[in-house]
Amino acid sequence: MTEPLLSIQNLRLTAQTDRGTASILRGIDLTVERGRILGIVGESGSGKSSLVSTIMGLLSPGLNAEGSVKLDGVDLLTLGSSKMQALRGNKIAMIFQDPMTALNPVFRVGTQLVDVVRNRYPGVSREEAVKRASDALVKVGLSDPERRMKDYPGQLSGGMRQRVMIAMALLCQPDILIADEPTTALDATIEAQIIDLLRRLRNEFSGSIIFISHNLGTVLQLCDEVAVMYGGHLVELGAVRDVLAQPLHPYSRALIGCEIDDQPLDVPLAFIPGKVPETVDNPPGCIFAPRCNYAAEVCTRVMPPLRAFEGQLAACARLEDIT
């Protein structure tokens, strides 16, 4: 049990483009322990979704992953597509960002859930699969599961559809559940309900969860650890309370500074000047240096690796100087 459930080492993701080689992930090292919830935050384009697509083995053709992604000691990057397919919906499952389009509009909710159950547990009878599916719907807080099973996704609200997606994930009882911004497309009130649901299900669910979010508040409510990504790098990693209370990396600080929830109304909104680095550029120094308030000469030479500092990990050369 000493070995972590998921262990990612030096993961690089590249694609050949007309403008040269694009680096989407630039060497990620990350582990997820059993039963833990890891949050991943970062701007759009920081590589969060690419990271989880790589773990799921659902990369678009043309993308090239190097390094290793070990689940229970098995390197997923070297698995063939049929073995990977057998793993999906079994050991790993995923909840997507947009519940409006993630379910098939022309099949009943029940059909889609039952197919997933029968794929996961091939010996299960149709009746048993239907029963499990409707139980799962109750578990995620949908009343009248018989009717919901007969409904088409278009007849459900966004929140209900996301509950159906969560039910689908629960039915698989995966070791790792990936939730890719599951609340971004929902109203704020519904978002709170879904987060609350995930928190309650946490106790019942024995696996680990990777939770991707823009919203640091939801990460704080739900996660044990948080990883901050920027430009295809992991720039900070630590216990969620520590990182949010005392962010080390200048990017984490800036990101937390941009949260608008409890800022006074008369202050202009904070933002990080500059833009996310181009994937085709390969600057020699720190990836965040061009936008960093603390950048010094040392930052332009080499990308600093993640290093331990005050119980957290951060990839910054000037941690001692700036804290």
């Binding site: 799921m56 659902l58 397919q85 057998a86 793993l87 999906r88 919906g89 079994n90 499952a93 995923m94 997507f96 947009d98 389009t101 993630a102 379910l103 098939n104 509009p105 022309v106 099949f107 009943r108 197919d115 997933v116 794929n119 996961r120 088409y152 278009g154 007849q155 997606m165 689908m168 698989c172």
Partner: protein, 339 residues
Amino acid sequence: MDTNWELFRPFGAHETEGAGRLRLFENFLFNRILTAVLSVFGAMLVIVVLLNMVPGDPATALLGPMATPEYAQRFIAEMGLDQPIYVRLWKFFSQVAVGNLGTDVISGRSVNAIVWNALPHTFALALASMGLACLIGIPAGVYGAVHKGSIGDTLMAMVSVVFVSVPSFILGIFLLIVFSVMLNWLPVLGVSDNATLGDHLVRMILPTVALALGWIGLIARLVRTSMLEALGQNYVRTARAYGLRENMIHYKYALKNAVIPTLAIIGMGIGRLLGGAVLIEIIFARQGLGSVLYDALQARNFSVLQGSVFVVVVIFVVVNLLTELSYSFFDPRIRYNRR
């Protein structure tokens, strides 16, 4: 061809809309049937006017140049051709209203009987052709989309274009020459003189293939396009994320979405083929609606022509109506109402 989606929309929450939905459906059906009746009426008007302008009058065509003017005059009066168009239309429709398509003045047979004898040939050929076209075209389209850019896909694209662009009667003659004349594998005549089912089927092979090839190409191209779109949708990614088998994803989850835009073309194809594949029926000497139309036109036999064109138009309109209704079978979004 355009479904009136708006008709299905403006009703509220779906638990209380049972009665409302039924009323909407009745509205829809009433509208459609009204449109259908008007289409039939309009088509008949055009046909009768056009027939009136066809050069060569039936008397000369049938009786020959040696007929006495009096005799020709009497003949024309018997066919009702001396009367103005609106009177002829009125007569025709009042007959049709009681289920009578008229009488063939030349042979004395009822047009009902002539059409009735021809219909089985036409239905068998049309349904077999379209069935074959779907059976091959749909999987071919799925294959092309799934293996986009492969040699098989490229090859199929080329073959499809050939199938679509070569007229079916050329294909028919070509098949006839190769398989019946040169190889002597299949009979030349497309219809059996003895009535065994096996012989009927064997003789249907060539005309069916000749008609189907073009539709195979068209359906394959259309399914490929809509399938490519479906495969890029999020629900396909979801199905993959839950480890469903690719075959199930392709043929169940993606195809049902991809088939919807193809329905219109399949429906139109059935309608057209039922309207008589005139040239193919002539090449293979099948006594279907197409042959009846052709013979009647050759003979300027207006009574038969009117009656059979009417049947063709009605079939086409009915098939189109059924096509529209079939949308709601494949696409539940038409059945229930979204906000």
